[in-house]
Structure formats: structure tokens, C-alpha cells
């Protein structure tokens, strides 16, 4: 009898802490603005995983999934800048600060910071960004924007293209996550 009680308690706690949310079709994009040219790239096949019990967040994207306006830009991006064949993935692994302030059981808009490491082009760097979590009907829309410097990830822009490609990229991340059930 005692065992049964313990067992049911165990299952109760695991169901409470099974708070993983995920998607495979999140968005990640970046934008470069110079006086000469605006360059935009979008990726709609990005996987996001958030564990609300620990605050762990993980985002992974394939470099070859970034779509540009021009095929030539996409080629240059993959071959010259991020070297997709050598470094096929961009990943972010971090923690949601003060994760307890986000109540995924209650609809609302929650703002908190995320700190973690962004790995692009084989170079990992720590970032902290303000993120918004919009909880509505069991879904969570996570969104953030931050800037990434190309030189921080050992991505070199040729001198003659400095007027066309900005050294600082505005990165936008947005994803609708739903509860993950195995």
C-alpha cells in the first residue's frame, strides 16, 4: 500500500514537471542594413525546445535553410561566409532567467531575459537578450531580437563589400511552441 502511494506520488510529480515545449517549424531570420543595400534571410525550419522546469532553451537551425532574396546571395552566404559544408548548424543553448515568472498555465504576456551561447561558424559566444513569451491556450509564442557582429564569429566581409553588408546583423527569433508529448 505504501509502495502504491509512493508510486502514484512519483507519477504525479513527473507529470507536473513534464513541461517541455517544442517545435520544428520555428522562425529565425537576420537583417543587414547599409546605405547601399538591405539583405534579409529567413529560415522557417528551426527547432526550438524549452524545458519550463529548468529554464533550458535550445534552438538549432541548418545554415542551408536560410532563404535569401537572390540565389547568388544564398550561395555566397553558404560558401564564403558561414561555410555550411564545414559548419552546417547554428545553435543556441541557454537558460531563461527567472523562469518561474512565466506561468505557462495562465494566458498572458511575460517578459524575461535569456542568457546563452550562440554557436555560428564554429565560434561560440555568450549573449543575453530580452525575450517575450506570449502564453495563449496552451501554446507559447517566444520572441526575441538581438544583434550579432560578424567578426565575433570569425565571419570576414571583404573590404569592397563593407558598404553592402553590415558588420552587425539584427537577428530575429520567433516560434510557436506546443507541449511536447512522446
Amino acid at each position: 500500500m505504501k509502495n502504491l502511494l509512493f508510486l502514484s506520488l512519483f507519477f504525479m510529480t513527473t507529470s507536473i514537471f513534464a513541461q517541455k515545449y517544442a517545435t520544428r517549424t520555428g522562425f529565425l531570420g537576420f537583417f543587414s542594413k547599409t546605405n547601399m543595400e538591405d539583405i534579409k534571410a529567413n529560415n522557417n525550419n528551426v527547432s526550438y525546445v524549452i524545458d519550463w522546469a529548468t529554464g533550458d532553451i535550445q534552438v538549432s537551425a541548418l545554415q542551408t535553410n536560410f532563404k535569401f532574396e537572390k540565389a547568388l546571395m544564398e550561395e555566397h552566404y553558404n560558401e564564403n561566409y558561414v561555410e555550411s559544408s564545414k559548419f552546417p548548424k547554428a545553435t543556441f543553448k541557454g537558460k531563461i532567467q527567472n523562469v518561474g515568472s512565466v506561468n505557462i498555465k495562465k494566458d498572458g504576456v511575460y517578459k524575461t531575459k535569456i542568457t546563452g551561447n550562440l554557436d555560428i561558424h564554429g565560434v561560440s559566444k555568450s549573449y543575453t537578450t530580452e525575450a517575450t513569451f506570449k502564453v495563449s491556450g496552451g501554446k507559447v509564442i517566444a520572441e526575441t531580437k538581438f544583434n550579432v557582429k560578424c567578426s565575433d564569429h570569425n565571419i570576414k566581409i571583404e573590404a569592397n563589400l563593407k558598404n553592402n553588408i553590415s558588420e552587425s546583423m539584427e537577428v530575429t527569433a520567433k516560434a510557436e511552441l506546443t507541449e511536447f508529448k512522446k
Binding site: R24, T25, N42, N44, N65, E74, S84, S85, P88
Partner: protein, 139 residues
């Protein structure tokens, strides 16, 4: 002298036309690229899962003709998508993004699709994901 100028202007014209061509070059798609291999969805997935680096070398940016069963379909702002079952115990899938809106795909349907291989994303929780882009439905 005059002849030299004419030749030079032709060379310049050629360079300009080539420049315009490069600038407007259409994106590669599975509709136009030569098929590199025909493969079953579970076999492709296993290959990537067991040997991600070698498989990427072999298949990246290649046009693959893949056969499998549809697990889910989605139409969103970024276009038509579908996911093929792999039968793998880690819930891995083949994710496909279509070149054009492709609406006549049903869950459970057996399909043959051509798509350009964008690579493989491993994930402990979600299971792996082999991505094909710019895809077209063959049957």
C-alpha cells in the same frame, strides 16, 4: 583601332549580360536539378542518424527522390510543408518544404517526392530531422 573598340564593346556587353544573369539567377530547385538518388524515407534517416558527417558529404544540396508515408502536413506563411514517417524509435522524421503550394497531400498517403537535401539536425528530445527543400511532388 576601330576594330579594337568594337571587340572591347562586345566583351563589355558580354560581361554586363553575364552580370545580370548572375544577379537574377534562379534558385536551384528539385524541379530542375538532376536526381542524384532514389531512396526510402526510413533508409535515408538511418543513414544520417548513424553517420551524419559522411551522409552530409554525400547528399548535401543533392536532389533526392524519396518515398515514404506522410505523417503530417502544414500550410503556413512560408509555404507548404509535410513530414514523412521514418519508423525510427527516436521519433525522427524527414521534413519537406515545397517549392510551390502543394495542397493535395493527405496524412497517411504514400508519396514520392523530390527535394534538395539541406542536411540533418539531431535533437535529443525531438529526434533527428532530415530536411529537404524546394521540393516537388512526383506522385
Amino acid at each position: 583601332m576601330k576594330k579594337g573598340l568594337i571587340i572591347l564593346s562586345f566583351v563589355l556587353l558580354g560581361a554586363v549580360i553575364y552580370g545580370i544573369y548572375l544577379w537574377n539567377k534562379p534558385a536551384k530547385s528539385a524541379a530542375t536539378e538532376e536526381v542524384f538518388a532514389s531512396i526510402q524515407a526510413p533508409a535515408l534517416y538511418e543513414e544520417f542518424k548513424n553517420n551524419p558527417e559522411e551522409s552530409a558529404k554525400k547528399y548535401l544540396n543533392k536532389n533526392l527522390e524519396i518515398s515514404g508515408s506522410v505523417e503530417s502536413v502544414a500550410q503556413d506563411s512560408s509555404g507548404s510543408k509535410c513530414v514523412l514517417t521514418t519508423g525510427s524509435d527516436d521519433m525522427g522524421v524527414i521534413s519537406i518544404s515545397f517549392l510551390k503550394a502543394t495542397e493535395n497531400i493527405q496524412i497517411g498517403q504514400s508519396v514520392k517526392i523530390r527535394g534538395l537535401c539541406a542536411g540533418y539536425l539531431a535533437d535529443d528530445l525531438l529526434g533527428g530531422n532530415v530536411q529537404l527543400n524546394q521540393a516537388v511532388l512526383v506522385q
